[in-house]
Amino acid sequence: MAVIELQEVSKLYGFGDATTLALDEVDLHIETGEFVAIMGPSGSGKTTLLNIIGLLDKPTHGEYVLDTRYVSRLRSGQQARARRDKIGFVFQSANLLPRLNVLENVALPLAYKGTLPVRRLKLASDMLERVGLRDKEYFYPKHLSGGQIQRVAIARALINNPTIIIADEPTGNLDSGNSKIVMELLSEIHRSGNTVVMVTHNPELTRYANRLLYMHDGTIVGDEKTKLGEVAKGIKNVYFTDESSVEEHLAHGVATIMREVPPKELSSKKPKLPKAQTKKPRTRKRSYKRSKK
């Protein structure tokens, strides 16, 4: 059964001439226990999609069913509570509150749930054990490495036993060693039954996912099942046809390469993606009308 179900979800930013269509009638089902990687060029709507899935934002049009509940029209209080109970966030950077120590940071979501302080800190401590940072409980974020900060953020995302973990470029600021540690942790969480949705610019990391979405101009143009432990084949075809080695790409940061490639060129290569036929990219500047079934 789908834990996440987006029905023709669109997101518009701005007014009048400055309107941007960040998401364009996106349909998406994500099953419990999936590890979904989302890729795509900068500005293609990945973060917007995550924000809507994570209940940080509301779709302009369309419906969102989370855990069988229609959540696209919730009032902000209900939205916050649903977010607290169902979603765990890991951002690219500055995840932690600098004034709270590691333990308090991990316990923060429980505070908003009304869990008693003693129990809160106990649970947080257990969770830190799970991410291997128990000995850093009383450290402040400024005394942790980037990788450790991300692991604390993962611990915090897990503390409420959420339905989905949402990670927006969780390794975007990390070197390859730390990236690996963080990804292994996410992978372990996935193996223990959690649903993970992650945006990344690094094709290497698709080896931890069992499904890859490729976004372009606010639509999902590619959706493929991938094998755990292997870099997605379609991605390999698209991005690694030139001479340079995978290692070089990693060294330069794939993200920069992807930003350098103009979107047009990318879409011309798109047919090479195995399941890219779901939706053809359309010309943007059309007037938007809500299509109701």
């Binding site: 916050a80 509570r81 966030f89 500055a94 600098p98």
Partner: protein, 409 residues
């Protein structure tokens, strides 16, 4: 939830220590000045009531003229200061008829004879030479420290009972009893010295007993060549429960003496106290009101600090919302910060006022008193100000859109 709000607030206040302390300064100054003023007023009231208790609640004061007008319920409506300057309407006949009344245990008429005395080649001009009967000693509850009060047989002797301040100034270390000094060129013998009386900021019997010389009645008449008038009569009632009955009889008796005119005033000690309490309360309220303006300035300081804090911590607000904080919870967090700032400021302000109280007691004649109700009102005011001025910044924080807030690094 409240407790963790409080802890979070404390943590963020501590992390901006300097800014927080400067912010609190406004509240600290405001609260400490309001508390000090209120405690001065309270102290003044206490001093007055102590003076009144020195005489005892069973003493009635009769003054010439209609000093105060009263409402129908007996409360004082207005004070009539002109009455103090007219010739006295009180007579020896009044004294005699009061003495005959049932339930009256002592009657002490007091006449002001002069203000200056001489000793050797010196003069003192700031004293009260008062003639009265030995009954005054009864009314004052025998406060003679050295020597003795004069007795009825001494009525025409040149004897004097002097206040402790006069004793110090005239005779220094020497035992004053048996010494002589002059009033209007006549030699007087010191018979007794009063013990120190509460230094009265407002004296209920109209004179400062520490600077008074009490002489016998006939002597007073002789010295003043019969020009002395009875300024007031102190009447002690033997049974305080019968005070009101005696008061009515007194009123009736005096009115008969005065041919049906109400040109005299009978005051209970508590009424004297009420009059002065009213005056003190009004003055305290006015001055505290002025001091309270600094509290508003302090409140604006809190608002300013919180506004800065909200914009600095936009990312934090975003993260809190991402992990499930509702708008209301964010609102409460910032309200709590305002509250903690003002509460800490209030507590420090009160502590400062307490310290100031000690200094005032040591270096001045004031005897300020900080009562629990002053502290409660001060804390209540501080808290109210903190919360009110935190509302705007807190709303601003609560209404931030999570996405916008998260975009802020």
């Amino acid at each position: 939830m409240i407790i963790s709000d409080y802890k979070m607030a404390l943590a963020s206040i501590r992390s901006a220590r300097w800014r927080s302390s400067l912010t609190m300064l406004g509240i600290i100054i405001g609260i400490s000045s309001v508390v000090t003023i209120a405690s001065l007023g309270e102290g003044l009231k206490k001093q007055v009531s102590e003076q009144i208790n020195q005489l005892g609640g069973n003493v009635l004061t009769i003054r010439s003229g209609n000093v105060v007008s009263k409402n129908s319920d007996g409360s004082v409506a207005s004070v009539n200061p002109l009455a103090l300057f007219s010739a006295s309407t009180l007579t020896d006949q009044d004294v005699a008829s009061i003495q005959k009344l049932d339930g009256v245990s002592a009657v002490a008429p007091m006449s002001l004879i002069t203000n200056s005395i001489g000793y050797e080649d010196r003069e003192m001009n700031n004293v009260y030479v008062v003639s009265s009967t030995p009954d005054l000693n009864v009314v004052l509850q025998d406060k003679v420290n050295f020597g003795a009060f004069f007795i009825p047989e001494d009525t025409n002797e040149n004897y004097a009972v002097i206040g402790t301040s006069i004793a110090e100034e005239l005779f220094g270390g020497v035992n004053p009893v048996g010494q002589t000094f002059t009033i209007s060129g006549t030699n007087f013998l010191v018979r007794g010295v009063h013990e120190p009386f509460q230094a009265g900021v407002l004296s209920t019997i109209g004179i400062d007993l520490n600077y008074s010389i009490i002489i016998p009645p006939a002597t007073g008449k002789r010295i003043s060549e019969n020009r002395a008038q009875i300024a007031q009569i102190l009447v002690q009632v033997s049974d305080q429960k019968r005070l009101d009955v005696v008061l009515l009889e007194l009123q009736h008796e005096l009115r008969t003496n005065h041919k049906g005119q109400n040109n005299f005033t009978i005051l209970k000690q508590e009424e004297l106290a009420n009059v002065s309490d009213d005056i003190i309360n009004a003055a305290t309220a006015v001055i505290s009101g002025i001091a309270a303006i600094s509290l508003i300035v302090g409140g604006i300081g809190i608002m300013n600090t919180l506004l800065v804090s909200v914009s600095e911590r936009t990312r934090e607000i975003g993260i809190r919302k991402a992990v499930g904080a509702t708008n209301r919870q964010i609102l409460r967090q910032f309200l709590m910060e305002g509250l903690v700032l003002s509460l800490v400021g209030g507590v420090v302000g009160i502590a400062l006022a307490v310290a100031g109280n000690f200094l005032l007691r040591i270096y001045t004649d004031f005897r300020p008193v900080i009562t629990p109700s002053i502290i409660l009102i001060a804390l209540g005011t501080a808290v109210t100000i903190g919360v009110i001025f935190a509302v705007m910044p807190a709303l601003q924080a609560a209404r931030k859109h999570p996405i916008e807030a998260l975009r802020n690094e």
